[in-house]
Protein backbone atom coordinates (compact mmCIF):
# COMPACT_ATOMS: atom_id res chain seq x y z
CA UNK A 1 0.00 0.00 0.00
CA UNK A 2 2.70 2.44 -0.89
CA UNK A 3 1.96 3.20 -4.50
CA UNK A 4 1.20 6.57 -5.97
CA UNK A 5 -2.54 6.31 -5.34
CA UNK A 6 -1.85 7.17 -1.71
CA UNK A 7 -0.38 10.51 -2.56
CA UNK A 8 -2.00 13.43 -0.82
CA UNK A 9 -3.85 16.34 -2.27
CA UNK A 10 -1.05 18.81 -2.04
CA UNK A 11 1.76 16.62 -3.21
CA UNK A 12 0.06 15.92 -6.50
CA UNK A 13 0.59 19.34 -7.99
CA UNK A 14 -2.66 20.86 -9.06
CA UNK A 15 -3.97 17.80 -10.85
CA UNK A 16 -6.26 16.63 -8.13
CA UNK A 17 -7.78 20.08 -7.97
CA UNK A 18 -8.81 19.86 -11.59
CA UNK A 19 -10.57 16.54 -11.78
CA UNK A 20 -11.92 16.12 -15.30
CA UNK A 21 -15.52 15.28 -15.99
CA UNK A 22 -15.71 11.53 -15.92
CA UNK A 23 -17.03 9.43 -18.72
CA UNK A 24 -19.05 7.22 -16.43
CA UNK A 25 -22.47 5.75 -16.36
CA UNK A 26 -23.73 8.14 -13.76
CA UNK A 27 -26.99 6.48 -12.83
CA UNK A 28 -28.88 9.38 -14.41
CA UNK A 29 -32.02 8.81 -12.41
CA UNK A 30 -30.05 9.42 -9.22
CA UNK A 31 -29.92 13.19 -9.14
CA UNK A 32 -28.99 15.50 -6.31
CA UNK A 33 -32.61 16.60 -6.22
CA UNK A 34 -33.66 13.00 -5.71
CA UNK A 35 -30.85 12.37 -3.25
CA UNK A 36 -31.30 15.25 -0.85
CA UNK A 37 -33.58 17.88 -2.34
CA UNK A 38 -35.67 19.33 0.50
CA UNK A 39 -33.77 17.36 3.13
CA UNK A 40 -32.45 18.96 6.33
CA UNK A 41 -30.97 15.98 8.12
CA UNK A 42 -33.98 15.81 10.41
CA UNK A 43 -33.90 12.61 12.44
CA UNK A 44 -30.29 11.82 11.54
CA UNK A 45 -27.69 11.26 14.27
CA UNK A 46 -24.11 12.17 13.48
CA UNK A 47 -21.16 11.29 15.71
CA UNK A 48 -18.03 13.43 15.50
CA UNK A 49 -14.91 11.71 16.83
CA UNK A 50 -12.52 14.55 17.50
CA UNK A 51 -11.37 16.98 20.17
CA UNK A 52 -14.85 17.68 21.54
CA UNK A 53 -17.41 20.26 20.42
CA UNK A 54 -18.10 23.70 21.80
CA UNK A 55 -21.82 23.02 22.08
CA UNK A 56 -22.53 26.58 23.18
CA UNK A 57 -21.14 28.06 19.98
CA UNK A 58 -23.93 30.27 18.71
CA UNK A 59 -23.51 29.12 15.11
CA UNK A 60 -24.25 25.53 16.10
CA UNK A 61 -27.77 26.59 17.10
CA UNK A 62 -28.16 23.90 19.71
CA UNK A 63 -27.64 21.00 17.33
CA UNK A 64 -25.25 19.21 19.70
CA UNK A 65 -26.75 16.60 22.00
CA UNK A 66 -24.42 17.19 24.92
CA UNK A 67 -25.96 14.59 27.20
CA UNK A 68 -25.36 11.87 24.66
CA UNK A 69 -21.68 12.74 24.31
CA UNK A 70 -18.73 10.72 25.48
CA UNK A 71 -15.20 11.80 26.38
CA UNK A 72 -12.48 9.17 26.42
CA UNK A 73 -8.94 9.20 27.69
CA UNK A 74 -6.33 6.83 29.03
CA UNK A 75 -5.92 6.24 32.74
CA UNK A 76 -2.51 6.14 34.37
CA UNK A 77 -2.63 2.37 34.07
CA UNK A 78 -3.36 2.48 30.36
CA UNK A 79 -7.05 1.69 30.48
CA UNK A 80 -9.57 3.70 28.50
CA UNK A 81 -11.77 5.81 30.76
CA UNK A 82 -15.18 6.77 29.40
CA UNK A 83 -16.89 9.86 30.75
CA UNK A 84 -20.46 10.24 29.47
CA UNK A 85 -22.13 13.60 29.13
CA UNK A 86 -21.13 17.18 28.33
CA UNK A 87 -17.47 17.96 27.80
CA UNK A 88 -15.55 20.88 26.28
CA UNK A 89 -13.58 21.01 23.06
CA UNK A 90 -9.92 20.87 24.10
CA UNK A 91 -8.52 22.05 20.76
CA UNK A 92 -11.19 23.59 18.55
CA UNK A 93 -11.05 21.19 15.65
CA UNK A 94 -14.11 19.18 16.61
CA UNK A 95 -16.14 22.36 16.70
CA UNK A 96 -14.95 23.12 13.17
CA UNK A 97 -16.13 19.73 11.94
CA UNK A 98 -19.48 20.04 13.70
CA UNK A 99 -19.98 23.49 12.22
CA UNK A 100 -19.47 22.22 8.69
CA UNK A 101 -21.88 19.34 9.20
CA UNK A 102 -24.47 21.63 10.76
CA UNK A 103 -24.19 24.13 7.93
CA UNK A 104 -25.10 21.41 5.46
CA UNK A 105 -27.59 19.39 7.51
CA UNK A 106 -29.06 21.89 9.96
CA UNK A 107 -31.59 19.55 11.53
CA UNK A 108 -29.20 16.68 12.13
CA UNK A 109 -28.31 15.96 15.75
CA UNK A 110 -24.58 15.94 16.39
CA UNK A 111 -22.87 14.06 19.21
CA UNK A 112 -19.31 14.61 20.33
CA UNK A 113 -17.11 11.59 20.97
CA UNK A 114 -13.93 13.15 22.29
CA UNK A 115 -10.88 11.06 21.56
CA UNK A 116 -8.30 13.81 21.04
CA UNK A 117 -6.69 16.45 23.12
CA UNK A 118 -6.39 15.07 26.61
CA UNK A 119 -2.99 13.48 25.97
CA UNK A 120 -0.74 12.53 23.10
CA UNK A 121 0.00 8.97 24.10
CA UNK A 122 -2.47 6.12 23.69
CA UNK A 123 -4.25 7.83 20.82
CA UNK A 124 -4.96 4.68 18.83
CA UNK A 125 -6.46 2.82 21.76
CA UNK A 126 -8.73 5.73 22.66
CA UNK A 127 -9.61 6.34 19.03
CA UNK A 128 -10.57 2.69 18.52
CA UNK A 129 -12.71 2.59 21.64
CA UNK A 130 -14.47 5.80 20.67
CA UNK A 131 -15.27 4.43 17.24
CA UNK A 132 -16.50 1.16 18.74
CA UNK A 133 -18.82 3.09 21.02
CA UNK A 134 -20.24 5.12 18.12
CA UNK A 135 -20.86 1.94 16.14
CA UNK A 136 -22.49 0.28 19.15
CA UNK A 137 -24.77 3.30 19.48
CA UNK A 138 -25.72 2.95 15.81
CA UNK A 139 -24.99 6.48 14.65
CA UNK A 140 -26.19 7.09 11.11
CA UNK A 141 -23.04 8.97 10.12
CA UNK A 142 -19.67 8.88 11.89
CA UNK A 143 -17.12 11.56 11.04
CA UNK A 144 -13.45 10.72 11.57
CA UNK A 145 -11.19 13.61 10.67
CA UNK A 146 -8.22 11.80 12.17
CA UNK A 147 -6.11 8.79 11.38
CA UNK A 148 -3.59 6.47 12.89
CA UNK A 149 -0.59 5.07 11.05
CA UNK A 150 0.01 2.38 13.63
CA UNK A 151 -0.01 -0.86 11.67
CA UNK A 152 -0.49 -2.88 14.82
CA UNK A 153 -3.94 -1.34 15.14
CA UNK A 154 -4.95 -1.86 11.52
CA UNK A 155 -6.76 -5.17 11.94
CA UNK A 156 -8.79 -3.92 14.87
CA UNK A 157 -9.87 -0.86 12.88
CA UNK A 158 -10.56 -3.02 9.84
CA UNK A 159 -12.88 -5.31 11.77
CA UNK A 160 -14.61 -2.39 13.44
CA UNK A 161 -15.20 -0.54 10.18
CA UNK A 162 -16.65 -3.71 8.69
CA UNK A 163 -18.92 -3.94 11.71
CA UNK A 164 -20.01 -0.36 11.13
CA UNK A 165 -20.63 -1.09 7.47
CA UNK A 166 -22.80 -4.12 8.18
CA UNK A 167 -24.64 -2.29 10.91
CA UNK A 168 -25.45 0.53 8.53
CA UNK A 169 -23.26 3.25 10.04
CA UNK A 170 -21.77 5.41 7.29
CA UNK A 171 -18.19 6.15 8.31
CA UNK A 172 -16.49 9.14 6.70
CA UNK A 173 -12.74 9.57 7.15
CA UNK A 174 -10.23 12.24 6.20
CA UNK A 175 -7.52 10.91 3.93
CA UNK A 176 -4.07 11.65 5.25
CA UNK A 177 -2.38 14.56 3.54
CA UNK A 178 0.83 12.61 3.59
CA UNK A 179 1.48 9.62 1.35
CA UNK A 180 1.60 7.21 4.22
CA UNK A 181 -0.37 4.17 5.17
CA UNK A 182 -3.00 5.33 7.62
CA UNK A 183 -6.09 3.82 9.08
CA UNK A 184 -8.98 3.58 8.73
CA UNK A 185 -8.94 5.88 5.70
CA UNK A 186 -7.59 3.13 3.43
CA UNK A 187 -10.45 0.71 4.02
CA UNK A 188 -13.17 0.23 1.42
CA UNK A 189 -15.85 0.07 4.11
CA UNK A 190 -15.41 3.80 4.79
CA UNK A 191 -15.64 6.89 2.58
CA UNK A 192 -12.23 8.54 2.45
CA UNK A 193 -12.12 12.25 1.64
CA UNK A 194 -9.43 14.73 0.55
CA UNK A 195 -9.57 18.40 -0.44
CA UNK A 196 -10.70 20.00 -3.63
CA UNK A 197 -10.51 23.75 -4.23
CA UNK A 198 -14.24 24.33 -4.48
CA UNK A 199 -15.85 27.18 -2.58
CA UNK A 200 -19.36 25.81 -2.81
CA UNK A 201 -19.86 23.46 0.15
CA UNK A 202 -22.00 21.18 -2.01
CA UNK A 203 -19.37 20.89 -4.73
CA UNK A 204 -17.72 17.55 -4.15
CA UNK A 205 -15.99 15.24 -6.58
CA UNK A 206 -15.67 11.53 -7.05
CA UNK A 207 -12.05 10.48 -7.24
CA UNK A 208 -11.57 7.57 -9.63
CA UNK A 209 -8.15 6.94 -8.12
CA UNK A 210 -8.91 5.30 -4.74
CA UNK A 211 -8.49 4.73 -1.84
CA UNK A 212 -9.47 8.38 -1.52
CA UNK A 213 -12.92 8.24 -3.09
CA UNK A 214 -14.25 11.77 -2.65
CA UNK A 215 -12.91 15.31 -2.74
CA UNK A 216 -14.64 18.16 -0.95
CA UNK A 217 -13.88 21.73 0.09
CA UNK A 218 -11.05 21.98 2.60
CA UNK A 219 -8.86 24.93 1.66
CA UNK A 220 -9.05 28.38 3.22
CA UNK A 221 -12.40 27.76 4.82
CA UNK A 222 -13.94 29.93 7.48
CA UNK A 223 -14.77 27.43 10.21
CA UNK A 224 -16.06 27.53 13.75
CA UNK A 225 -13.58 27.14 16.59
CA UNK A 226 -13.88 26.69 20.31
CA UNK A 227 -14.69 29.68 22.47
CA UNK A 228 -17.30 30.93 20.04
CA UNK A 229 -14.66 31.87 17.50
CA UNK A 230 -14.30 31.44 13.77
CA UNK A 231 -10.93 30.89 12.08
CA UNK A 232 -9.53 30.26 8.62
CA UNK A 233 -8.61 26.63 8.18
CA UNK A 234 -7.17 24.24 5.62
CA UNK A 235 -6.95 20.46 5.69
CA UNK A 236 -8.45 17.20 4.55
CA UNK A 237 -9.84 17.00 8.04
CA UNK A 238 -12.17 19.82 7.04
CA UNK A 239 -13.13 18.16 3.76
CA UNK A 240 -14.47 15.02 5.43
CA UNK A 241 -17.29 16.75 7.32
CA UNK A 242 -18.63 18.11 4.06
CA UNK A 243 -19.25 14.57 2.91
CA UNK A 244 -20.62 13.71 6.37
CA UNK A 245 -23.07 16.59 6.12
CA UNK A 246 -24.27 15.60 2.67
CA UNK A 247 -24.51 11.96 3.76
CA UNK A 248 -26.67 13.13 6.67
CA UNK A 249 -29.00 14.83 4.19
CA UNK A 250 -29.17 11.67 2.08
CA UNK A 251 -29.84 9.51 5.13
CA UNK A 252 -32.53 11.90 6.27
CA UNK A 253 -34.37 11.63 2.99
CA UNK A 254 -33.63 7.96 2.36
CA UNK A 255 -33.19 6.32 5.76
CA UNK A 256 -33.17 2.83 4.34
CA UNK A 257 -30.03 3.26 2.27
CA UNK A 258 -27.07 1.11 3.21
CA UNK A 259 -23.52 2.53 3.30
CA UNK A 260 -22.62 1.13 -0.12
CA UNK A 261 -25.76 2.73 -1.56
CA UNK A 262 -24.89 6.09 -0.01
CA UNK A 263 -21.50 5.86 -1.68
CA UNK A 264 -23.20 5.13 -4.98
CA UNK A 265 -25.50 8.11 -4.54
CA UNK A 266 -22.53 10.34 -3.74
CA UNK A 267 -20.71 9.11 -6.80
CA UNK A 268 -23.74 9.66 -9.01
CA UNK A 269 -24.26 13.20 -7.72
CA UNK A 270 -20.62 14.31 -7.69
CA UNK A 271 -19.84 17.50 -9.57
CA UNK A 272 -17.54 15.73 -12.00
CA UNK A 273 -20.06 13.00 -12.73
CA UNK A 274 -23.45 14.65 -12.67
CA UNK A 275 -22.48 18.29 -12.93
CA UNK A 276 -22.98 20.98 -10.35
CA UNK A 277 -26.69 21.61 -10.33
CA UNK A 278 -27.50 20.93 -6.78
CA UNK A 279 -30.44 21.62 -4.54
CA UNK A 280 -29.75 23.61 -1.41
CA UNK A 281 -31.08 23.01 2.03
Amino acid sequence: MTDSTLRPAWSRGESIFDVPALDLDSLPQVTAEWAWGGATGDGVRVAVLDSGIDADHAALEGCVDEEAGLALQLSDTGEVIEQPGPHPDLVGHGTACAGIIHSLAPQATITSVRVLGAALSGRSKVFLRGLAWAVEQGYDVINLSLTTCRRDWALAFYELCDKAYFRGCFVVTAANNLPVVSFPSLFSSVASVACNVARDPFEFHFNPDPPTEFLAPGIDLTVLWRGGQTVQGTGNSLAAPHISGIAALIRGKHPGLRPFEIKSVLRATAANVHGLNLPRT
Binding site: W10, V91, H93, L116, L120, C149, N176, P179, Q232, N236
Partner: protein
Protein backbone atom coordinates in the same frame (compact mmCIF):
# COMPACT_ATOMS: atom_id res chain seq x y z
CA UNK B 1 5.87 26.36 29.21
CA UNK B 2 9.25 25.46 30.63
CA UNK B 3 12.54 25.94 28.82
CA UNK B 4 14.74 22.92 29.13
CA UNK B 5 17.73 22.11 26.96
CA UNK B 6 17.87 18.35 26.85
CA UNK B 7 20.24 17.61 24.00
CA UNK B 8 22.61 19.23 21.55
CA UNK B 9 20.92 20.82 18.54
CA UNK B 10 20.58 18.64 15.47
CA UNK B 11 22.17 19.95 12.29
CA UNK B 12 19.61 18.12 10.22
CA UNK B 13 16.62 19.46 12.05
CA UNK B 14 18.08 22.94 12.14
CA UNK B 15 18.55 22.77 8.38
CA UNK B 16 14.96 21.65 7.99
CA UNK B 17 13.65 24.46 10.17
CA UNK B 18 15.80 26.96 8.30
CA UNK B 19 14.61 25.72 4.92
CA UNK B 20 11.00 25.77 6.07
CA UNK B 21 11.23 29.34 7.30
CA UNK B 22 12.89 30.55 4.11
CA UNK B 23 10.68 28.70 1.65
CA UNK B 24 7.36 29.50 3.26
CA UNK B 25 8.11 33.02 4.55
CA UNK B 26 7.19 31.83 8.00
CA UNK B 27 8.11 34.05 10.90
CA UNK B 28 8.92 30.90 12.80
CA UNK B 29 9.47 27.31 11.72
CA UNK B 30 9.92 24.78 14.48
CA UNK B 31 10.45 21.06 14.52
CA UNK B 32 8.91 19.55 17.62
CA UNK B 33 9.25 16.01 18.90
CA UNK B 34 6.49 14.11 20.66
CA UNK B 35 7.93 12.13 23.55
CA UNK B 36 5.15 10.40 25.39
CA UNK B 37 2.88 13.22 26.41
CA UNK B 38 5.65 15.78 26.12
CA UNK B 39 6.12 18.10 23.19
CA UNK B 40 9.67 19.39 22.93
CA UNK B 41 11.06 21.94 20.47
CA UNK B 42 14.11 20.35 18.84
CA UNK B 43 14.88 22.93 16.14
CA UNK B 44 13.68 26.44 15.38
CA UNK B 45 14.38 29.13 12.79
CA UNK B 46 12.85 32.31 11.46
CA UNK B 47 13.12 36.04 11.84
CA UNK B 48 10.25 36.16 14.33
CA UNK B 49 10.99 32.95 16.18
CA UNK B 50 9.77 32.93 19.76
CA UNK B 51 10.16 29.29 20.68
CA UNK B 52 13.53 27.96 21.75
CA UNK B 53 15.24 24.62 21.41
CA UNK B 54 14.54 22.46 24.43
CA UNK B 55 11.33 24.25 25.26
CA UNK B 56 8.48 22.05 26.36
CA UNK B 57 5.12 22.98 24.88
CA UNK B 58 1.66 22.32 26.17
CA UNK B 59 -1.22 21.24 23.99
CA UNK B 60 -3.63 24.01 23.22
CA UNK B 61 -6.14 25.25 20.75
CA UNK B 62 -3.91 25.35 17.72
CA UNK B 63 -2.97 23.40 14.65
CA UNK B 64 -0.03 21.81 16.43
CA UNK B 65 -2.21 20.00 18.93
CA UNK B 66 -4.37 18.59 16.20
CA UNK B 67 -1.44 17.58 13.99
CA UNK B 68 0.18 15.70 16.85
CA UNK B 69 -2.98 14.12 18.17
CA UNK B 70 -4.87 13.56 14.95
CA UNK B 71 -1.96 12.74 12.64
CA UNK B 72 -3.25 15.17 10.03
CA UNK B 73 -1.86 18.38 8.58
CA UNK B 74 -3.87 21.43 9.47
CA UNK B 75 -3.67 25.14 8.85
CA UNK B 76 -5.49 27.42 11.25
CA UNK B 77 -5.14 31.15 10.98
CA UNK B 78 -1.45 31.94 10.57
CA UNK B 79 -0.27 28.51 11.72
CA UNK B 80 0.39 25.41 9.66
CA UNK B 81 1.47 22.12 11.15
CA UNK B 82 2.44 18.93 9.39
CA UNK B 83 2.94 15.80 11.46
CA UNK B 84 6.18 13.85 11.19
CA UNK B 85 4.86 10.34 10.78
CA UNK B 86 6.88 7.27 11.58
CA UNK B 87 6.04 3.64 11.12
CA UNK B 88 4.64 3.48 14.63
CA UNK B 89 2.87 6.77 14.89
CA UNK B 90 3.36 10.50 15.16
CA UNK B 91 6.95 11.36 16.01
CA UNK B 92 6.59 15.11 16.00
CA UNK B 93 5.64 17.92 13.69
CA UNK B 94 6.91 20.78 11.60
CA UNK B 95 5.11 23.85 12.86
CA UNK B 96 4.99 27.11 10.92
CA UNK B 97 3.77 30.32 12.51
CA UNK B 98 3.52 33.91 11.41
CA UNK B 99 2.49 33.43 7.83
CA UNK B 100 3.17 35.69 4.88
CA UNK B 101 1.51 39.04 4.42
CA UNK B 102 -1.80 37.51 3.43
CA UNK B 103 -1.97 35.90 6.85
CA UNK B 104 -2.30 32.22 6.15
CA UNK B 105 -0.03 29.73 4.46
CA UNK B 106 -1.08 28.52 1.05
CA UNK B 107 -1.17 25.09 -0.48
CA UNK B 108 2.36 25.45 -1.84
CA UNK B 109 3.73 26.22 1.61
CA UNK B 110 1.98 23.17 2.96
CA UNK B 111 3.41 21.08 0.17
CA UNK B 112 6.90 22.28 1.01
CA UNK B 113 6.33 21.67 4.69
CA UNK B 114 5.09 18.18 3.90
CA UNK B 115 8.34 17.30 2.17
CA UNK B 116 10.45 18.75 4.93
CA UNK B 117 8.37 17.03 7.61
CA UNK B 118 9.01 13.71 5.89
CA UNK B 119 12.74 14.32 6.08
CA UNK B 120 12.41 15.32 9.71
CA UNK B 121 10.41 12.15 10.35
CA UNK B 122 13.22 10.04 8.94
CA UNK B 123 15.62 11.75 11.29
CA UNK B 124 13.37 11.52 14.32
CA UNK B 125 12.54 7.90 13.57
CA UNK B 126 16.08 6.67 13.78
CA UNK B 127 17.54 9.28 16.02
CA UNK B 128 19.76 10.62 13.28
CA UNK B 129 20.01 7.89 10.66
CA UNK B 130 18.08 7.92 7.41
CA UNK B 131 16.33 4.60 7.36
CA UNK B 132 12.77 3.39 7.70
CA UNK B 133 10.01 5.90 8.12
CA UNK B 134 6.39 5.99 7.14
CA UNK B 135 7.49 6.98 3.64
CA UNK B 136 9.97 4.95 1.68
CA UNK B 137 13.10 6.58 0.27
CA UNK B 138 11.85 5.86 -3.25
CA UNK B 139 8.60 7.70 -2.59
CA UNK B 140 10.43 10.65 -1.16
CA UNK B 141 12.90 10.55 -4.02
CA UNK B 142 10.14 10.59 -6.61
CA UNK B 143 8.57 13.56 -4.96
CA UNK B 144 11.86 15.41 -4.78
CA UNK B 145 12.46 14.66 -8.47
CA UNK B 146 9.08 16.12 -9.29
CA UNK B 147 9.92 19.21 -7.27
CA UNK B 148 13.32 19.52 -8.95
CA UNK B 149 11.60 19.61 -12.32
CA UNK B 150 8.96 22.10 -11.29
CA UNK B 151 10.60 24.44 -8.78
CA UNK B 152 14.39 24.56 -8.75
CA UNK B 153 14.83 27.01 -5.90
CA UNK B 154 12.59 25.08 -3.53
CA UNK B 155 14.29 21.87 -4.51
CA UNK B 156 17.73 23.33 -3.79
CA UNK B 157 16.77 24.36 -0.28
CA UNK B 158 15.15 21.04 0.52
CA UNK B 159 17.99 19.08 -1.02
CA UNK B 160 20.38 20.99 1.18
CA UNK B 161 18.57 19.77 4.27
CA UNK B 162 18.53 16.26 2.88
CA UNK B 163 22.25 16.34 2.13
CA UNK B 164 22.92 17.33 5.71
CA UNK B 165 20.84 14.39 6.83
CA UNK B 166 22.61 11.95 4.54
CA UNK B 167 25.95 13.28 5.69
CA UNK B 168 25.08 12.13 9.16
CA UNK B 169 24.23 15.51 10.59
Amino acid sequence: MTAEVTEPPSRVLNAIAQAAAELTDAGEAAVVAARGDEIVVVAVAGARAERTVGQRLTTGDDALSFALAGGQSLSVGSSTCVPCLGADGVLGALALRGGPAAGSFGVEATRTATLLAAIAAAHLEEGGGYRASARTPSELGAELAELAASDTSRYDAIASALETLLAGG
